[in-house]
């Protein structure tokens, strides 16, 4: 009874960092086990519903910290199930950033050119495709036209949405009912399963210990499928290699909890957290101005009034993604829809005489909700987030059955970060308040602090052991055989949506993990094609793979 289970590779988390590595390693012949703390939903279970207990709360985690709150995926497929699938590559200057350490924060081995072929692999796999103007929803169109009227450029962003299937329902944060959003449930994960990988939902990893053999033992609790506060059991699995991909807000917490038995962690575990410099502004547009100034109309009655229609962010302005600008003053601006709840509470009333985020004036602002347009800033912060002591289980003390909990992350924005937000707020006003088109206010940080949907860097790669937890092959310093491949490995803010970069880094990390498995006597090959069998992008990474595997 209770014979210890064993596997070659134990992967914690099934988002981009977990699914991509699971696929390649299983395809290469390794025995792969994935533990995912959230549930496993299929497309029929992705609800169009705000009710507590629908997929809207089942697949998300919202962890409130001290000065920073983090939204992340909590289900098989992780962030890919809840993301908006906007997939730009990070601009070249990002890889040269110094950030808070006064010297280049990325490993010398990685710049945009080096990452390009790995981006190509992900682009082939999901796939990621350019967006044409005739696929841009009204909200993106009105933002683009406002940018043009104010003298700015605007781009339809590349995305991982099959627009032929998309209904522009804007429920994609609750999971895509129509399989239009190319989540990992449609590519890497089924391919991993077909190669024998095992995925266990509702398994929340608590800690890692080390065996005398040099292998690792992973300790988990099983979680009730409705009330995530309830544990239904526990167990352990032994593995030669552990890949942590539990998400930026969870991976460092598992390592912190493991430290007493596993041994001292690198200094950067649970430090240097970045919120990707994120900031939101909400504009209330004047419909007659949209018609008069921008020459737009949906029909005779409406020029805009289409906040609810679309698929998250589709159009972005990249005028400030200019490497010649000073660090902390570079950012992208993306038009965005956030559903009610997430997207309404923190929005502030312009020129409020009373309270700005609640009260009578806020209710009047809500009456104009159809004319709202949210603008998402992704800027350069200072990696100023630090995780406190871990909670007893998981990565938060859960308040609600699902979704809401309180974590240990502490974030105090530096003057650099605040300056970036100030400059971007001004840019948003310049675009949208031009000629009285709209009134704009940033979201309040008085309720839950700052917030991010793209947490990064809490366990990051780098060349300097003092300021990076991982080497440039994503291996945890001082703990051979433990790799980290999720957003926590990204060194800092990217100024754009990070999913594509996280995924490209995970693809890039696989040959090094194959090497580590072979060193431990596991017969494993590298070289699987894209999940659908496509091999076009594989040629581009061949040279990089040879440097790792010979």
């Amino acid at each position: 009874m209770n014979a210890t289970e064993t596997t070659d590779v134990l992967i914690v988390g099934s988002g981009f960092g977990g699914s991509i590595t699971a696929y390649h390693l299983a395809a290469g012949g390794a025995k792969v086990t994935v533990l995912e703390r959230g549930p496993w939903l299929n497309s029929e279970e992705f609800d169009h519903d705000f009710k507590f207990g629908s997929s809207t709360t089942r697949v998300f985690d919202f962890v409130v910290g001290d000065g920073m709150s983090v939204l992340g995926g909590n289900c098989v497929g992780g962030g890919s199930v809840v993301y908006f699938a906007t997939m730009p590559r990070a601009p070249r200057f990002v890889f040269e950033r110094h950030g808070s350490i006064g010297r280049r924060m990325w490993p010398a081995a990685i710049d945009r050119d080096a990452l390009e072929p790995w981006y190509d692999r992900v682009a082939e796999a999901l796939p990621v495709t350019p967006t044409s103007w005739d696929e841009v929803p009204y909200i993106g169109g009105v933002f683009a036209a406002a940018c043009k009227a104010a003298g700015h450029t605007a781009n339809p962003s590349p995305s991982a949405v099959d627009t032929s299937l998309c209904t522009n329902c804007n429920w994609m944060m609750s999971g895509c009912r129509f399989d239009a959003k190319r989540s990992l449930l449609l590519n890497y994960l089924p391919a991993a399963l077909s190669h024998g990988a095992e995925i266990r939902p509702l398994h929340e990893v608590q800690k890692i210990t080390k065996l005398d053999t040099g292998d690792y033992r992973v300790h988990y609790n099983t979680i009730d499928e409705v009330d995530y506060r309830q544990q239904t059991g526990s167990g352990t699995i032994d593995a030669k290699i552990v890949i942590l991909a539990a998400g930026t807000a969870a991976t460092p917490v598992i390592l912190q909890r493991s430290e007493p038995e596993l041994g001292r962690m690198p200094h950067a575990v649970g430090r240097y957290f970045s919120g990707n410099g994120e900031r939101l502004n909400t504009a209330v547009l004047e419909d007659d101005k949209v018609r008069e100034l921008l020459g737009l109309s949906r029909d005779e009655a409406n020029a805009y009034g289409a906040y609810q229609i679309g698929r998250g962010p589709v159009v972005a302005s990249w005028d400030r993604l200019d490497g010649d600008l000073p660090e902390y003053e570079r950012f992208s601006l993306e038009q965005l829809y956030f559903p009610p709840g997430f997207g309404t509470i923190l929005a502030q009333v312009p020129d409020a005489k009373g309270p700005s985020w609640y009260g009578p004036e806020k209710k009047e602002m809500l009456r104009k909700w159809r004319s709202w347009l949210t603008v998402f800033t992704m800027s350069e912060d200072d990696n100023e987030g630090v995780f406190g002591p871990p909670p007893p289980t998981g990565n938060s003390e859960r308040l609600s059955q699902q979704l809401l909990g309180f974590g240990s992350l502490r974030y105090r924005p530096t003057e650099n970060t605040l300056r970036g937000w100030e400059v971007s707020d001004a840019a948003v006003r310049d675009i949208l308040e031009h000629n009285g088109l709209a009134r704009v206010m940033p979201w309040t940080n008085d309720v839950i602090g700052a917030y991010t949907v793209h947490p990064l860097a809490s366990c990051r790669i780098g060349d300097d052991p003092e300021t990076s937890a991982l080497d440039d092959r994503h291996e945890l310093r001082g703990h051979p055989g433990i790799f980290v491949t999720d957003g926590s490995a990204v060194p800092g803010a990217l100024t754009v949506n990070p999913a594509f970069t996280i995924a490209a880094l995970a693809e890039r990390a696989v040959p090094g993990i194959v090497h580590a498995l072979r060193e431990r006597g596991v017969e494993v090959h590298y070289g699987a094609p894209a999940p659908d069998g496509g091999g076009a992008a594989r040629r581009g990474t061949a040279a990089a793979v040879r440097t790792v595997l010979g």
């Binding site: 169009h48 519903d49 705000f50 009710k51 507590f52 629908s54 709360t57 409130v64 730009p88 590559r89 601009p91 070249r92 981006y119 682009a123 350019p130 103007w133 005739d134 841009v136 009204y138 169109g141 009105v142 683009a144 036209a145 940018c147 043009k148 700015h152 450029t153 605007a154 781009n155 339809p156 962003s157 590349p158 209904t167 522009n168 329902c169 429920w171 921008l294 949906r298 609810q308 229609i309 679309g310 302005s317 990249w318 992208s332 009610p340 709840g341 509470i345 609640y358 009260g359 009578p360 209710k363 809500l366 009456r367 909700w369 308040l399 609600s400 059955q401 008085d446 309720v447 839950i448």
Partner: protein, 185 residues
Amino acid sequence: MPETECPPSRNTVLEAFADTIIPGEKRHPDDRAVAGVSQGGGAVAAGAIDVLETPEGGMAPALDDLARMLDEHAVAYRAGCGLPEDREPFVGLGYDDRLALVGELLAPGHPEHAMWAGLAMFSFMAFDTGAHMHTADAIAAGHPGLATLGFAPPGEDGLWRFPAYSYGRPLADVHPDTDPTGSPV
């Protein structure tokens, strides 16, 4: 605290708080919880108590304490302002005084900020999502919050689709440094 003939129930206090967050019109002439400073239903009519009491939300075990603490804060508030003490503490405050007190509790740095922010957010969610009901049912029942937003109803199968969605033409110049994949260089 002086006894009143009809001491406020816990829910009346919580309703008065929710009405401070998203105000509505009185449900009936004797409605004490709803101050009546706004046209149309507010958070209370939208189901604030139901949302707060859902087992899923996790707030239910705290509601007795929150209502009691709110009244304690109201007693101190009205004493500080020299307001009459012959009525229910929080419910007896006028809307502007409710707003002023709630503003103190929600201010960053208040030692109880997290719990009052939580109560405010759940009250808000009752209005703008109706999270205690299936959204399609809430819309069909005329949920006041979703109606205020103008949230479009679903199709017959309960799912949302917007066949008309685009202006359908280029509306800005793309950035000159865009690579062939559509990304910034």
